[in-house]
Symmetry: C2
Subunit: 361 residues, 2 copies
């Protein structure tokens, strides 16, 4: 356990949403304190953290004070401004590292990184102006999706181009931002691998989950996913290749499209991932604790799946179903402590244990 932090140390977490909240709880279970840095007041993670700093990512003094108060820094989202990272990194280690952020903050850089690793991605081409969009359509074909290179999530910052005539409207939708045109992938379903890598290079992957989206937002993740055994192994090997290439420390979500020919890497997220929430009720050590273990330099925990689980997100008015959900057997409720249920807002999730697995001992 070289470099390992001891219980009682403080983990700084950038971002105070539900991921920061569940990371904070997992950290406390291992005896660590947490300090949340979040621009918005009263963040969900603040309710379960030892300290909260409310300040913007442009407040360098606040960032420095935050860094001085913690032993290691991690994050719940990838869009952290470079200047903020510079200020933080001068004081304390940031895990996962800057390279993981650099790659995942930009769709074009990410796609190129994955392609250069020899992995299969959707066909893609850069789009910076009308002329390059025309060239991109010629290269990638239609139908295709135009996506901003940065700051897109849950389907935001995207426009479909079903035929070349849609190009102008799609380009307008980018509002001048650099973009990437991605060819459609005809896939049967989407799976994701939640993978972890420790400081000393140990890699551990959770069993892939199968994701279903609704209105561009993750609706359910089901484990086990529909995958042939050889494909299941491929999925894990792909994730391992990505983590090793980045000298990654922490948990990463790797989204894969399943086609008859291949596993196509859709995108990577250098953090705990919504599609890994099932691990809270399916494994001895969940993705949040696994991330914390990696970040503090501990050995990775036991991520073996001991149950079949269906995770369902509670979005917006879904929380009105809470009275019924509390009466359901084998249904674990996870609420995020958010005050107001707005359309599209992730309010919580439930993990339904559909079958317990006998131990393989």
């Amino acid at each position: 356990m070289t470099e390992a932090l001891q219980p009682g140390s403080t983990i700084g977490i950038l971002g105070g949403g539900q991921l920061g909240r569940m990371l904070s709880v997992a950290a406390s279970r291992l005896g660590f304190k947490t300090h949340i840095f979040e621009p918005s007041a009263n963040p969900p993670a603040g309710q379960v953290a030892d300290q909260v700093t409310t300040a913007g990512y442009d407040d360098i003094d606040a960032l420095k004070a935050f860094a001085a108060s913690v032993d290691v820094i991690t994050y719940e989202f990838e869009n952290i401004p470079t200047a903020a990272l510079d200020a933080l990194e001068a004081a304390k280690p940031i895990r996962p590292n800057r390279e993981a952020l650099r790659v995942s903050q930009d769709r074009l850089v990410e796609k190129a990184f994955l392609r250069d690793l020899g992995l299969t991605t959707a066909p893609f081409a850069p789009v910076t102006d009308a002329a390059s969009l025309e060239a991109a359509i010629a290269q990638v074909g239609t139908p295709a999706i135009l996506k901003t290179c940065r700051f897109g999530y849950d389907g935001k910052g995207q426009a479909r181009i079903m035929e070349p005539g849609d190009a102008d409207a799609a380009f307008e939708a980018m509002q001048g931002a650099d973009a990437v045109l991605e060819g459609f992938v005809t896939f049967t379903h989407e799976v994701s691998v939640i993978a972890a890598r420790s400081v000393d290079g140990q890699v551990s992957c959770y069993d892939p989950g199968e994701n279903v989206h609704k209105d561009g937002i993750l609706d359910t993740t089901t484990v086990p996913a529909r995958l042939m055994p050889a494909r299941r192994m491929d999925a894990v090997l792909i994730a391992g290749k990505i983590l090793n290439a980045l000298d990654y420390v922490g948990v990463m979500g790797v989204e894969l499209f399943v086609t008859p020919q291949a596993l196509v890497v859709n995108e990577i997220a250098p953090r705990v991932h919504n599609s890994g929430h099932w691990t809270q009720n399916g494994c001895a050590v969940d993705q949040f604790e696994q991330h914390i273990r990696a970040v503090v330099g501990w050995p990775l925990g036991d991520g073996q799946r001991h149950a079949d689980v269906v995770m369902e997100n509670l979005i917006g008015a879904d929380v009105d179903r809470l009275p019924e959900l509390t009466k359901e057997p084998d249904c674990a409720i996870h609420m995020y402590g958010k005050a107001e249920a707005k359309p599209g807002r992730k309010m919580g999730h439930v993990n339904r244990i559909t079958k317990a697995q006998a131990a393989q001992k």
Copy 2:
């Protein structure tokens, strides 16, 4: 869900130790905020709670302000002064109720309550002075244990009387406190039932666990306990009888001695209990969430056991084994965030999943 509190409400918790800490985390999982009231500075529960009040139980103003800030009040320990309870109860409901506290705060009252319910207890007699001790020894016989009526825990406030000649020394050890003499019970092992009762009178018990103590402190709890099926049912019925008699709301720990003839009720604790920690990794809904569900007026959750588990307390220097424990498969670590490991101090526990159970569907 009459009387049910909604997520976003605040639960006040008296006591900021590890039980308050794990209650706080469970409450957050259901979307509740917590406010900890604790005389000591920097309590373990404070690291994961929304608010902390540091004040004594004699600080009536602080108690009133605390009560005003919460929607319901619960507690992690039973020795709350009566005046404090009076001040709190005038403002907000206290769950479990005052009657449960009155009974469990005094060993003599508790023993009489259990006997009057028709349950089997160790033979006992009150001891207030040397003469009553002589009479008690005549009635109960030796060997016996003299215990203070109040404020005893983890073997403290107890003295053994192996023969009548030990009486004087045992009486001295009580330091003038009212006491109760309890006859020895020759038992094969100890089990405990973690039972819960909801606001509307629903009762749910976890599978009994088998407890092993070391130096007067719980060392391990193993589920399933060694109990014949009929005895297992008896244990649950005993717990249900106690909860119903007290119109109890919340989780209670009921310790039972197993003898060839009977289940002898040793003691009850009107709170989550160390011997119920295994539920964190053996059930969809653990004892902490079950207690919170009861206290906020929700239906009880699914307490069905889905794994065999051995809980082991980490006492004092046991935490030095943490590096090894982090490498163990099927071993879930729960640390309490205490700064210093003193002899006898509960620093954390581990739950080892020894066998997963196939679901009974």
